[in-house]
C-alpha cells in the first residue's frame, strides 16, 4: 500500500487512480468527524464532499514536511466545520436532534438480552446526543482525541492552540460530557 505522500505526488501528476485511492482511504474518517460534530447525517455528507473538493483544488499547497496528510486533511475538515457552525448557528436552536439521527437498529423485546451490536448502536446514538450539547471547542477536542484517536501534538496542529490548551479542553470536555450523559440517564459500562 502506497504512503499518502506518494499518492499525493501521483495526484499532482494527474493520475486519477491515485486520487481515487486517497478518497477511498480517508472518506470514512472525514465523514465521521463531520457527523460527530454536526449530529446530522445529511450535513455530514455535504460537508464531506466539500472537504474533498477543497482538498482536490488545494492539493498543491500540501507539504509533507509540515506533517502527515491525515493531519492536513483533518485541519481542512475542522476549518470547514467551524465555518458551517457559524453559518448554521441560528438554525440549530430550532432543529430536533432526534430528527437528524440516523436510523437505529430496532430494540429487542424486553424479555431478550440485547446483543452486542444493538448495545454498540445505542451507545453510539447516546454519545452523539451528548456531544451535540457540548460547546464547539470542547466538542471538537473530545472528538479528535477520543473518537478519532489523534495525539496531542496532532490536535495542537489542527486547532492551532498550545498543547496545554488542548489538554485543558479535552479534560473539561470529558467531564462535561459525562455530566450530560448522567443527566440523560446513560450509565457508564
Amino acid at each position: 500500500m502506497q504512503p499518502d505522500a506518494q499518492l499525493v505526488e501521483s495526484c499532482l501528476r494527474g493520475e486519477g487512480l491515485a486520487w481515487e485511492e486517497l478518497v477511498r482511504r480517508h472518506t470514512r474518517r472525514v465523514y465521521n468527524l463531520c457527523y460527530r460534530f454536526t449530529g446530522n447525517a445529511a450535513s455530514a455528507e455535504d460537508l464531506s464532499q466539500e472537504v474533498f473538493l477543497r482538498v482536490y483544488r488545494t492539493l498543491g499547497s500540501y507539504q509533507a514536511a509540515q506533517g502527515g496528510f491525515p493531519t492536513w486533511l483533518t485541519s481542512v475538515t475542522r476549518n470547514l466545520l467551524v465555518d458551517h457552525y457559524r453559518r448554521t448557528r441560528r438554525d440549530r436552536l430550532t432543529d430536533s436532534i432526534d430528527d437528524a439521527m440516523p436510523q437505529l437498529e430496532e430494540k429487542k423485546a424486553p424479555g431478550h438480552a440485547p446483543d452486542r451490536l444493538a448495545m454498540a448502536s445505542e451507545l453510539s446514538a447516546q454519545l452523539q446526543r451528548g456531544l451535540v450539547r457540548l460547546s464547539p471547542d470542547l466538542r471538537e477536542a473530545v472528538i479528535l482525541r477520543d473518537l478519532q484517536g489523534l495525539e496531542y501534538n496532532e490536535i495542537r496542529k489542527i486547532l492551532g492552540v498550545p498543547e496545554g490548551t488542548v489538554k485543558s479542553r479535552i479534560n473539561r470536555g470529558r467531564i462535561e460530557l459525562a455530566r450530560i450523559l448522567e443527566e440523560m440517564g446513560v450509565r457508564p459500562a
Binding site: 486520487w19 464532499q49 473530545v142 477520543d146 470529558r174 457508564p188
Partner: protein, 229 residues
C-alpha cells in the same frame, strides 16, 4: 500534599491516561477514596473514555465516495457488462504484436521443415522424439548432399573451361633472326623447315593448338570446328 476536588478535576485526564506524576497520582487516588463526589467523577469519566474508545466509526453512505469522485475528477463512463469481455482487444491489436506472431510462425515453419514434418498432414507419429530426430538427421544429410553436389558441379565446369583455354606463357624477347619475317604470311603456310632458335617458339609452332570456333555450314551439324594452326 493537600489534594482537593478542584485539583482532581484539573488533573483527571492525566490521571486516567497514566501521565500524571506518581506522587500526584497517589494524592489524587487517596483523595478520591475519601471523597464521594470525586470518586463518582473518576468512575464516570473513566467509564466514558473507555466506551468512546470502543465506539466504531460510522459507515459512510454507499454513494458518498462516488459522489466525491464525480465532483472532483468528473463522472466516469459507465461500462457495459459486455465491454469487459473485449477489454483485452486494444492491448493485442497492435503492429508489434502482429509482427511478433508472424516471426513466431516463420520460425515454427522453419523448424517443422527441418524436422521433416508435413504441415498439411501432421500426424501424431511425426511429433514423437525418435521420428523428429530421424527426420532432422535425414534433412541435414540431404541439405549437405545438395551443397556438395553444387560445389562439385562448379568445380567440373571450372576444370573443363580451364582445359579448353590453356594459360599462354609469356613471350621472350625476340632474338635476332637472319631473315625478316613476312608480315602477310599465312600461319598455315609457314614452313616447318625454317629453324627457330627459340625452342619454346618451336614447340608452340609444332604443337597443335585447338581453338573453339564458331560452327560453319561445312562442318557436321552439331559439332565444333577445329582449326589447326
Amino acid at each position: 500534599m493537600d489534594w482537593n476536588c478542584i485539583a482532581t478535576e484539573e488533573r483527571l485526564s492525566d490521571y486516567l491516561e497514566g501521565t500524571l506524576a506518581a506522587a500526584d497520582a497517589s494524592a489524587l487516588a487517596a483523595h478520591a477514596a475519601g471523597c464521594a463526589r470525586c470518586s463518582a467523577l473518576v468512575a464516570r469519566v473513566g467509564g466514558l473514555i473507555s466506551q468512546m474508545h470502543q465506539v466504531d466509526l460510522v459507515e459512510e453512505p454507499p454513494h458518498l465516495i462516488r459522489g466525491i469522485l464525480d465532483v472532483t475528477i468528473g463522472p466516469r463512463k459507465q461500462k457495459q457488462a459486455w465491454e469487459g469481455w473485449f477489454s483485452w482487444v486494444p492491448l493485442v491489436w497492435q503492429p508489434r504484436v502482429g509482427i511478433g506472431l508472424a516471426t513466431v510462425a516463420a520460425c515454427l515453419a522453419i523448424v517443422l521443415h527441418a524436422a521433416g514434418v508435413n504441415v498439411r498432414d501432421v500426424k501424431m507419429s511425426d511429433l514423437r522424439p525418435a521420428n523428429v530426430m530421424r527426420a532432422a538427421n535425414r534433412q541435414a544429410h540431404l541439405t549437405y548432399a545438395h551443397g556438395a553436389k553444387f560445389v562439385n558441379d562448379l568445380r567440373v565446369v571450372y576444370e573443363i573451361q580451364s582445359r579448353l583455354t590453356p594459360q599462354t606463357e609469356p613471350e621472350a624477347a625476340p632474338s635476332p633472326s637472319p631473315e625478316p619475317q613476312p608480315t602477310t604470311v599465312d600461319p598455315r603456310e609457314k614452313s616447318q623447315a625454317t629453324p627457330h632458335p627459340n625452342h619454346r617458339e618451336a614447340r608452340r609452332l609444332n604443337a597443335p593448338t585447338y581453338v573453339l570456333t564458331k560452327y560453319t555450314a561445312q562442318d557436321w551439324p552439331g559439332t565444333t570446328t577445329r582449326r589447326r594452326l
